[in-house]
């Protein structure tokens, strides 16, 4: 395979391409400051994201990172194992770049007339760089740095509408909670380092396995809890979910989409890698006195319940989506809750699939909100009444997203959600507590139907208000939404490769 002849560091190409794109955008803005040449800026960013996506897909197809046991190309370690490029990394790079490409294309219209366009695109691309790097980070150092590279541009992006009070407020809250959680995260890292003497994930695991951390159970346990806190923030899970509704509501809608899809995925890849690689279930329990799956079971149930119940009471569409994305974080947490010492790749794989599909459907849903903001129709369910009679294509796409989020076929969300359910039940055969998770999933899915269908109802069933202007058809937004919708549908028949990649990644990680 051609990928094999490249130097080792080239395995990070998806992240490197994104970083380069970000720098090119800065250069473009340096050459022509405050340019509003939307085609050039959005085009550059989109080309970068797509190139990165293409490379990631190519690597995946070429078998980069597949375990050598199965005759694969082997996991590529870079910088002495500070980064690893394995199937999981490539998988999440794909997720991130897809979302980035969609966001960038959609922003083409959303940002029309705004200042700071070049900054916007370069920040988006840099944040995406961080997310792609997170996917490959294999040491708490690189994880933290990549995480911050994700977070810092995100803070700025949320607040980028400088004269919009909502945006600024959202940025502030996102920043404050983000800074707090990264402080907690880094303190957790320091404690883990104290207990084990290493920051590289597999070295930590070795120390734990050798009993080198036996005397530091308390320190290690506290450290793990704090890491969990940082991850909970990034994934918008309870108890660090408070920022999410505010930030998503106030932020420009494409950024909400970005944060709730890609950024969340980045948070999950950390959770998956750190907990599976550094704190393997078999050994960690005896050192710190409890299995972290217990924590994730509780977190998953609470997160999905809080998210869905709060979403059901919202009047504001963006806020409803924000809470629903908290609920979905709860679903994805099942991936970790369902692990056990000798298995769980099924449930983990399902969580990975869910994150990919979620990347399409949730991004699409938020982009529709962006479209509505572009139209200026308002923010509440009522304001969306009868949009379908004026914009059937976009509303059809939105219905696809919503039904997919609710887990109704024939859309991608169906498979991922039901696979999660299936995985949870499979895990329950080993750990009966997972039954509670499965039950919570059922209850929450039922509840989510209510509020998702409420929005469909508003779009399709309610009558439009008499006084609404003709709605424009912005090319970029429409393109992004339609692509997302088509992908949400097409991914269902094409679920085979997705499932293969996801379970492969999960297996590689767990074993």
């Amino acid at each position: 395979m051609a990928a094999y002849q490249l130097p080792q560091w080239a395995a990070l190409a998806p992240a490197l391409i994104l970083a380069l794109t970000g720098l090119v955008l800065f250069l473009v803005d340096s050459i022509s400051p405050r340019s509003t040449d939307r085609t050039l800026l959005a085009g550059t960013a989109a080309v970068g994201a797509l190139a990165s996506l293409a490379v990631a897909v190519w690597f995946t197809a070429a078998g980069v990172g597949t375990p050598t046991i199965d005759g694969g190309e082997g996991v590529i370690e870079i910088f002495d194992g500070q980064f690893v490029v394995d199937q999981l990394a490539l998988y999440f790079m794909i997720v991130v770049t897809i979302v980035t490409a969609l966001i960038v294309v959609a922003s083409y219209d959303y940002l029309a007339g705004h200042t700071y366009q070049a900054e916007y695109y370069s920040l988006v691309v840099l944040a995406a760089t961080g997310m792609a790097t997170v996917a490959a980070a294999n040491s708490l150092v690189t994880i933290f740095i990549a995480l911050e590279l994700t977070s810092l541009p995100s803070y700025a992006l949320v607040a980028i509408l400088k004269d919009n009070r909502g945006s600024v407020e959202a940025g502030l809250k996102y920043f404050l909670i983000g800074a707090l959680s990264s402080a907690i995260f880094v303190y957790g890292i320091s404690l883990v380092y104290g207990a084990t003497g290493y920051l590289q994930l597999n070295s930590i695991a070795e120390v734990i396995a050798d009993g080198g951390a036996d005397g530091f159970g308390g320190l290690l346990g506290l450290g793990i809890l704090m890491l969990l806190g940082g991850i909970a923030f990034k994934t918008a899970s309870v108890p660090f979910h408070f920022w999410a509704p505010e930030a998503y509501e106030g932020a420009p809608a494409p950024i909400s989409a970005f944060l709730s899809s890609a950024s969340k995925a980045a948070g999950f890849v950390i959770a998956f890698r750190v907990f599976n690689v550094a704190f393997p279930l078999g050994e960690i329990g005896s050192v710190i006195g409890f299995d972290w799956t217990v924590a994730f079971i509780v977190l998953a149930i609470v997160t999905m319940t809080v998210g869905n119940f709060a979403a059901a009471t919202q009047e504001n569409v963006k806020r409803m989506l924000a809470y629903s994305s908290i609920g979905h974080a709860g679903y994805a947490l099942i991936g970790l809750a369902g692990l056990s010492a000798d298995g769980g790749e099924l449930v983990m794989g399902a969580a990975l699939m869910h994150l990919l599909v979620y990347g399409f459907m949730n991004t699409g849903a938020f982009l529709f909100v962006a479209l509505a903001e572009h139209w200026g129709v308002g923010r509440t369910f009522e304001d969306y009444n009868g949009l379908s009679s004026q914009a059937p294509v976009a509303c059809g796409a939105m219905a696809v997203f919503l039904f997919s989020l609710a887990g109704i076929p024939p859309f991608g969300g169906f498979f991922s959600k039901y696979f999660l359910f299936t995985g949870a039940l499979e895990a329950a055969t080993a750990n009966t507590a997972m039954l509670a998770v499965a039950a919570a999933l059922v209850v929450n899915s039922a509840l989510s139907l209510y509020y998702y269908s409420r929005l469909v109802k508003a779009l399709w069933i309610e009558d439009p208000p008499a006084t609404r202007d003709r709605l424009s058809q912005p090319t970029g937004l429409y393109a992004a939404i339609v692509v997302a919708a088509v992908m949400t549908i097409v991914i269902l028949p094409g679920f085979g490769p997705v499932a293969e990649a996801a379970t492969g990644a999960a297996e590689a990680l767990i074993n």
């Binding site: 790749e345 099924l346 794989g349 399902a350 009679s389 059937p392 219905a399 039904f403 109704i408 076929p409 024939p410 169906f414 498979f415 039901y418 696979f419 359910f421 299936t422 995985g423 039940l425 499979e426 329950a428 055969t429 009966t432 039954l435 499965a438 059922v442 899915s445 039922a446 139907l449 209510y450 269908s453 409420r454 469909v456 109802k457 399709w460 069933i461 309610e462 269902l492 679920f495 085979g496 499932a499 293969e500 379970t503």
Partner: protein
């Protein structure tokens, strides 16, 4: 690849119709829908399967395709037809064509979207009746909900929003319960199955000794019983069985005529079909264990549904509640677990699909003209629209189970089978259910007498004239089919019994 062709034609047709201009959408959709109808009729003649699809039968039009490998479990695109599903597929395609034809008059806004959704439903319905892998089946099963939700919600009556959401949430929650319990069952079977294909699971359950070890800390017997109950509850909502029937009248009454036709004609059959495929095929022991309560539920559905129908003044509501009652018969036939019982139940599914379709269409035609469905607001319609009313009366007779109509054969075989059943008080239950027929006759005749006969009067001020041909023609077709099946039930009854026998014999022919 015939089944794929059917589904693909309907799906592509849906897409084409969706983007077609409103004014040609109806005719386009009808033309497209004729293709699957014709294809399915050809398949009916070319049917070469035998036995039960789930229990070692030889399938017609079978096709396998690797799809997803989910951990140790493989999910395949696996479709095929046997004697139970083929008649249902044929009924579906025909009913869809006719429903589209009958929508030309009532549907006057956003036509392309409407017909697109109808074709989309058709594709999914065909899928439900032909899919043999659980995931594939479940996708089609759930995918029916969205178009139906929109059909009711967008083109329905005044309370359409409430009805649509109620329908949507009720059936979806039930699906989740059913999904979970079935998946749990598959995991409970352990290494015996490595796929979600229904034949594999059925084989493991019937021939492989079922669940062997305890699951979730529950011992195998209890676990299997729990799964049985959960599956039953899941399907019971769809059927619907009292007390889960409350969504049905709302949905029926608010839905536009063609949607009602599909809802009563095909969607309800999904529930009983699933019951037959899952509960009554995979759990022979549990069927015996739970025979009495299920029979009781069936009889209550029959009687209670009929009583409710008796109390209604809205024609559509009468037909809707009578559907609840009719579905009770089907369940009674299933629980009888004899050749005649189960076979009759299957036959009744097809028959009821045709008859209730006919009834809803007639009511729809009347409504198109009079703009009312209230029994109290009209009388003597026979004077003004003799043909349509004549078909309505004929359909009502079919409902009542008069000989020479398909309803007669269905109900008769069900009662015959139920009398033979060997659970406790079987004859008593059967007798009670038969009493239901009296009530059905009561309310139908009562309603007909009020509306159709007597001196003409109409409380709303619309001119009542003859219905257009494209409204009446589908009713003629349906009536012809009903009479054909009534005269020659063996047209489908033979293949039904052929497919039913393996169930009753535990997989051995």
């Amino acid at each position: 690849m015939m089944i794929e062709a059917l589904i693909a034609v309907a799906l592509i047709g849906a897409l084409v119709t969706f983007v077609a201009p409103n004014r040609v959408a109806g005719k386009l959709a009808f033309a497209i829908s004729l293709v699957p109808a014709a294809l399915s009729l050809w398949m009916f003649t070319a049917f070469d399967g035998s036995g039960n699809a789930l229990l070692d039968g030889s399938l017609a039009f079978e096709s396998h395709l690797e799809w997803i490998q989910f951990g140790d479990y493989s999910i395949e695109w696996f479709v095929g037809l046997d004697g139970i599903s083929l008649p249902l597929v044929v009924m579906t395609t025909i009913l869809c064509s006719l429903a589209i034809l009958s929508s030309w008059t009532p549907i006057d806004s956003r036509e392309s979207q409407f017909y697109g959704l109808v074709l989309f439903i058709e594709a999914n319905l065909i899928g439900v009746f032909s899919a043999l892998d659980f995931f594939v089946w479940f996708i089609f099963w759930e995918a029916v909900l969205i178009p139906m939700y929109l059909l009711i919600g967008v083109w329905g009556g005044p309370d359409r929003k409430y009805a649509a959401i109620k329908f949507f949430v009720y059936t979806n929650v039930a699906s989740l319960l059913m999904f979970g319990s079935f998946i749990a069952l598959v995991f409970g079977l352990g290494d015996a199955v490595t796929s979600f294909a229904l034949p594999d699971v059925a084989d493991a359950m019937v021939n492989g000794g079922g669940v062997q070890s305890s699951v979730f800390g529950i011992d195998p017997g209890t676990f299997t019983a729990l799964v049985f109950i959960a599956l039953f509850l899941g399907f019971a909502v769809k059927v619907p069985v009292v007390p889960f029937h409350t969504w049905l009248p709302d949905a029926h009454v608010q839905a536009p005529t063609p949607a009602s036709v599909l809802l009563a004609g095909v969607l309800l059959k999904m529930g009983t079909y699933a019951l037959l495929r899952f509960n009554f095929t995979m759990f022979p022991e549990q069927v015996e264990t739970f025979a009495v309560p299920i029979a009781a539920v069936a009889v209550i559905s029959v009687i209670y549904g009929a009583m409710l129908a008796l109390a209604q003044t809205d024609l559509k509501r009468i037909v809707a509640y009578s559907s609840v009652s009719s579905m009770g018969y089907v369940i009674l036939g299933l629980i009888a677990y004899t050749q005649f019982g189960v076979g009759g139940a299957t036959f009744q599914m097809v028959s009821h699909g045709l008859i209730s379709g006919l009834m809803f269409m007639s009511v729809g035609v009347i409504y198109n003209v009079t703009h009312t469905r209230s029994v109290e607001e009209m009388s003597g319609l026979a004077d003004r629209m003799p043909i349509a009313v004549g078909i309505l009366v004929a359909g009502a007779f079919g409902y009542m189970g008069l000989p020479l109509m398909s309803g007669f054969h269905g109900e008769f075989t069900i009662f015959f089978g139920a009398f033979q059943a060997d659970f406790a008080y079987a004859p008593l239950f059967t007798a009670l259910a038969m009493f239901g027929i009296v009530i059905v006759a009561g309310y139908l005749l009562f309603a007909l007498q009020r509306t159709v006969f007597g001196p003409y009067s109409l409380e709303t001020d619309y001119d009542v004239g003859r219905a257009p041909l494209h409204d009446v023609a589908p009713m003629f077709v349906l009536l012809a089919l009903i009479i054909a099946l009534g005269v020659a039930p063996e047209l489908i009854f033979d293949m039904i019994t052929d497919a039913v026998d393996p169930i009753l014999n535990g997989g051995d022919l």
